[in-house]
């Protein structure tokens, strides 16, 4: 019997306090339990570049890299997590939406070329 190729799952999140990071990690563990290969990527936002830092934010900035289109091409499934309910954090949702649009555009370009 041929061994099954693992499903590639890309988990992209935006988090400033670590709460959405924790939820994303739980989703990542679920994917690993289902024998998927995973990549974890963190979206950064404009506000972080303006000098707003704390311990959790500094750690996440050090530990994660932002997603790329290559990550999306690697993935069989993409999970995007962002806090969309707090008005003050709408920039997080905007970053997630922008990445989603980037993936969609890239996918469309791939399909159009075939």
């Amino acid at each position: 019997m041929t061994p099954m190729t693992p499903v590639h799952v890309l988990l992209v999140f935006q988090s400033r306090t670590g709460r959405t990071e924790k939820l994303t990690l739980a989703a990542a563990v679920g994917a690993v339990q289902a024998r998927a290969d995973i990549r974890l990527r963190r979206l950064t936002s404009v506000r972080e570049e303006s000098g707003e830092h704390d311990e959790t934010l500094d750690r996440m900035l050090r530990e994660y890299v932002p997603p790329t289109v290559a990550d999306a091409r690697w993935a069989d499934a993409v999970i995007i997590a962002a806090n969309g309910k707090i008005a003050g954090l709408s920039v997080d949702l905007d970053a997630a939406k922008a990445y989603g649009k980037q993936i969609a555009a890239d996918t469309r370009a791939c399909l159009d070329s075939k």
Partner: protein, 235 residues
């Protein structure tokens, strides 16, 4: 029979912030002749630059042991464990059904130097677990100190491991000697983490490893200016 795996023959990676040596095939280093030994799958020796490390990544069905020779390693995982690991500590993360963790040098000024060892577990899908236990430097001086053993081990060990493996550490001064008997059907691996030793008369330097088969008795003696070893008693 003792088959020596010399330090200089190991695979290597240089990412600038990471200087790694691979006793067995790992990541981009693939050598079909060195895929592991018995249930030992990985022995990596890493030097990680200050503040740098490995971002969150996943493991499953692997017993992962970290032994720090110098410096401090910060560990964080999806089980909620968040610790710094230093010398004279034993860390075993049992990945079981799946964990995500990150490992970073906890220091912004000093490198961390460590060995990470992966051992195949006795079964798949265990509940993930984490152990980190310290010991006194004197515990390993001039004797084999049992760092890890299965839960049903008769010999008390610092930590438990989900495989029929016993892992010892010994720090040997010049001419200091320890002996270990391997039961019939058992195998050994000796990894030199520091200095120089001789195993049944064969000299091993820092980073060298030795695969032991059909040798019921092992005599390890500190040579040069002495040395430290990890000894694996394997099925």
């Amino acid at each position: 029979m003792i088959k020596i795996r010399r330090s200089r023959e190991r695979g290597q990676a240089d990412r600038g912030w990471l200087q790694a040596r691979f006793t067995f095939s790992f990541a981009d280093y693939h050598d079909p002749q060195n895929m592991g030994f018995r249930v030992l799958r990985v022995i990596n020796e890493d030097r990680i630059a200050p503040g740098r490390g490995f971002g969150p990544h996943a493991h499953r069905d692997m017993e992962i042991m970290t032994y720090v020779m110098e410096g401090l390693l910060r560990h964080r995982d999806s089980m909620g464990e968040h610790h710094a690991i230093g010398p004279n500590e034993m860390q075993i993360m049992s990945a079981g059904s799946g964990v995500v963790h990150s490992e970073f040098n906890a220091s912004e000024s000093d490198p961390v130097h460590l060995c990470q060892i992966w051992i195949l577990p006795s079964a798949e899908d265990f509940e993930p677990s984490y152990q980190q236990v310290g010991f006194a430097p004197s515990d390993k001086e001039g004797r084999l100190y049992l760092l890890a053993a299965p839960v049903d081990s008769r010999e008390p060990a610092l930590t438990t491991i989900r495989q029929n493996v016993r892992i010892y550490v010994a720090a040997l001064g010049v001419d200091e000697q320890v002996h270990h008997s391997l039961d019939p059907g058992r195998y050994g691996w000796i990894q030199v983490t520091n200095g120089q030793v001789a195993v049944n008369g064969r000299t091993l330097d820092q980073g060298d490893g030795a695969a032991v088969s059909d040798e019921p008795e092992l005599a390890v003696i500190g040579t040069g200016s002495g040395g430290e070893i990890l000894l694996f008693d394997l099925p």
